[in-house]
């Protein structure tokens, strides 16, 4: 698809400008570009779907639309090996912690796409007692694909937007890593030992 055919070029440019602010030397810059090229062209989805949008997601993978053309080939069933999660369908109160857990189990870098009205805002079920109105309440969403359910073409467009977004990111230079290693580990430790936290080591013993 041509650059001018995309709808939100301003957003991507603003994001790229922000990321490039610090500047980087040529060698690192080239390497960065190479890595991000690789990452953007090899985004593997997690096989995850809750309802109707999931069927359209399968259709995107099937013969007529075939997202393997763009490098989304290998749908992994294990979250450890997936790069992005397509939240295809309604997320309910019971599912929300499970989804969060799935997201936590994925390896960095990881992305989230909210597919369909339900995942974006609760959709037709917004007023229900058991539906999370918008998956962005629990996960950081990168791309929203509206529709109920979105057409496969719309999904492909959304996936390509994600590719563009990944392409302008930086691997080196600390832009993406806004906290240092120690700080991160400190946070992690606090998480693990916090009282009443589900990540707590003792707590998890019982879950499994």
């Amino acid at each position: 698809m041509k650059y001018e055919d995309f709808n939100d070029n301003e957003y991507i440019e603003r994001m790229a400008a922000e990321l490039r602010e610090g500047g980087a030397n040529v060698l690192v810059g080239c390497l960065d570009e190479l890595i991000e090229w690789g990452r953007s062209n090899s985004l593997w989805p997690l096989t995850f779907a809750t309802s109707c949008c999931g069927i359209e997601f399968m259709a995107v993978g099937a013969a007529r639309y075939d997202f393997a053309r763009f490098g989304f080939e290998v749908a992994r069933a294990s979250p450890r090996q997936a790069d992005f999660i397509m939240v295809a369908g309604t997320i309910t109160h019971k599912m929300a912690p499970v989804l969060k857990r799935l997201y936590d189990q994925m390896a960095d870098p990881k992305y989230v796409i909210a597919v369909g009205g339900c995942a974006i805002s609760g959709g037709p079920f917004k007023r229900s007692y058991h539906v999370v109105d918008g998956v962005d309440k629990i996960l950081p969403v990168d791309v929203y694909i509206p529709g109920c359910p979105p057409r496969p073409e719309a999904m492909l467009y959304g996936l390509m937007q994600l590719q563009r977004k990944v392409k302008v990111q930086k691997f080196f230079g600390g832009v993406n890593r806004q906290m240092g290693r120690e700080e991160y580990e400190e946070l992690l430790r606090r998480d693990l030992t916090a009282e009443g936290n589900d990540l707590n080591v003792e707590g998890e013993e019982k879950h499994e």
């Binding site: 997690l46 096989t47 995850f48 779907a49 809750t50 309802s51 109707c52 999931g54 069927i55 359209e56 399968m58 259709a59 099937a62 013969a63 007529r64 069933a77 979250p79 369908g89 309604t90 309910t92 109160h93 019971k94 599912m95 929300a96 912690p97 499970v98 969060k100 857990r101 799935l102 037709p124 079920f125 007023r127 229900s128 007692y129 058991h130 539906v131 999370v132 309440k137 629990i138 109920c148 359910p149 057409r151 009443g196 589900d198 707590g203 019982k206 879950h207």
Partner: protein, 539 residues
């Protein structure tokens, strides 16, 4: 309802009161209900079509039972209720009909009615730490903010037993012992077809016990419908079983039209029938594709999807939607059929027949597929009836449960088609039923497509639709079984209670019986051939 049966029931239980209004029903006091139900069961009423929990406000909580005798085709509607609003208790009928097992759990979940002697009184859809019962009229949604803590699965379930003095005691029923090897399948698992979850106790690779957890996609559609006008409720039915969108909506439209006493035009009947059958083909193709994928034959998956797109093209051209068509309306359909519709449908049928032969060559005839499907996961006819496992699953077990034949609707009484029946009840029979039904559906379409009569495609309806007081039940043959709609109206523009008879819930409830003693790989094949759609189970 015939007067013979009314007399019989009043003879058995003199306190039973017959009320007209809609379909009409018997009101039976709670203490005598189990005896009456037992007698009806012994009299041949072996199929519990639907079990609906109710909140009648001042009159208390209760349950409505739709029963059918498979041998004679007789139907009866019963209800029982208790005035107690704090801790309502009713007798369980899960010893008579196994279908009641999950349905009563659902009623407990929605209304907090405890069923005596039910072995497993856990919540079915909602979290265990959920506060209150959402379908009670006084429920306040503020009580339950989003909880992000992980849910702990308990290894035992509560059960309530009646004491001789009339009180009841709470007991614990152990589901899994401490030292069992329990693995968790789902909610995110490639073979559960959505967000269903099983806890499976294994002995090596053999399944010892299986516990189903639903509710990961429970959207509370039935509660939402109570706040929507009748035309608004239509939108939600498409999203129940999205592979039977047209059929679901057909059922709801039929039920509302029945309540209003409206007769739709012949043309609409034809269009609806053709759409239902196209939807069935679409669903069965997806079934074939997914079963093949679950069994590891990925190429066949793509074949199924390739041909499914052709059906979707036809549907899309007329209705504007691929998956969710929102096509049927009260009194007609949204828009007239597209000028190309007839030609394209005919072309599709001509295209599809050789494709079916290709499927049989690629997958059905394969020795591995046969070895894995034949003889595994046998569901007997008696069990199928008792669980209410309708659709392809029931017909594979030899139960002639096709609503199109039992209670013909639309133009099914005018077309000639065969109800595909098998007697084995194993995975292969379930698979073959669906493959043969594609052919039957094509036969039906062929008979209708050239004779669509001229006429109105939409009757003129009143701007505000009010159904006269009473209760109504209408059912269609969905892609995977009987899809029923039960409406209780108080004459308002909103339904007082709207219940959808899920096609998938009975299928999931019989999973434990079928899968016990088989291997994990068989569980995947059984799940694939039962062909449930999870959002339809959870609603």
């Amino acid at each position: 309802m015939n007067s013979n049966l009314i007399d019989k029931i009043t003879a058995w239980e003199p306190r039973a009161v017959w009320t007209e209004g809609g379909d009409g029903m018997f009101t039976v006091p709670a203490d005598g209900f189990h005896d009456l139900a037992g007698r009806l069961r012994a009299d041949g009423f072996d199929f519990l079509r639907s079990l609906t929990g109710m909140d009648w406000g001042e009159a208390g909580f209760g349950v409505v039972y739709h029963l059918e005798a498979t041998a004679t085709g007789e139907n009866v509607v019963l209800r029982t209720l208790t005035e107690e609003r704090g801790h309502p208790v009713l007798p369980s009928v899960c010893d008579l009909w196994k279908a009641a097992e999950l349905n009563e759990r659902e009623v407990f979940d929605y209304f907090g009615i405890r069923f005596l002697n039910h072995p497993d009184m856990r919540r079915l859809f909602l979290r265990d730490d959920w506060v209150g019962y959402p379908l009670r009229k006084e429920y306040d949604p503020e009580q339950n903010p989003l909880r992000m803590s992980n849910e702990v699965s308990k290894d035992s379930s509560p059960t309530y037993e009646l004491q001789p003095d009339g009180s009841y005691i709470r007991k614990r029923n152990v589901l899994f012992e401490e030292d069992e090897y329990v693995i968790n399948v789902g909610p995110q698992h490639p073979a559960t077809h959505g967000v269903l979850r099983f806890r499976v106790s294994l002995e090596g690779e053999i399944i010892k016990k299986l516990d189903v957890h639903c509710g990961y996609i429970h959207r509370g559609i039935e509660k939402m419908c109570e706040e929507l006008t009748y035309p608004q409720t239509l939108a939600l039915t498409d999203r129940l079983d999205y592979l039977g969108a047209a059929q679901n909506r057909h059922a709801l439209c039929m039920c509302i039209e029945k309540g209003l006493g409206v007769e739709v035009s012949e043309r609409v009947q034809y269009i609806r029938t053709i759409m239902d059958e196209l939807q069935r083909i679409d669903s069965h193709l997806l079934f074939f594709a997914c079963l093949c994928m679950d069994m590891g034959a990925l190429t066949a998956f793509f074949y199924g999807f390739r041909d499914r797109e052709k059906v979707l093209d036809i549907l899309e051209q007329t209705t504007g939607g691929r998956l969710i068509q929102t096509y049927n309306t009260i009194g007609g359909v949204q828009a007239d059929i597209h000028p190309d519709f007839v030609r394209k449908t005919r072309e599709f049928i001509a295209y599809m027949r050789p494709r079916l032969r290709e499927y049989h060559e690629v997958f059905t005839g394969n020795v591995i597929a046969q070895e894995r499907l034949k003889g595994t996961g046998v569901l007997t006819r008696a069990d199928a009836v008792s669980f209410g496992a309708t659709g392809g699953t029931g017909r594979a077990s030899g139960w002639a449960c096709d609503v199109r034949k039992r209670h013909p609707y639309a133009v099914y009484d005018k077309v000639d088609f065969e109800e595909v029946l098998f007697s084995e009840g194993d995975c292969f029979a379930r698979y073959m039923v669906r493959m043969r039904e594609i052919e039957q559906s094509m036969n039906i379409i062929e008979q209708l497509i050239d004779n669509i009569p001229e006429g109105e495609y939409q009757l003129k309806m009143k701007p505000v639709i009010r159904i006269p007081e009473g209760s109504y039940y209408a059912a269609v043959e969905g892609s995977r079984g009987e899809f029923g709609v039960f409406i209780e109206s108080r004459g308002d523009k909103f339904p007082y209670r709207m219940k959808f008879r899920s096609t998938g819930l009975p299928l999931v409830s019989c999973l434990e019986t079928i899968a016990r003693g088989t291997k994990i790989a068989d569980l995947i094949a059984i799940g694939g051939t039962l062909d449930y759609v999870v959002p339809d189970i959870d609603r």
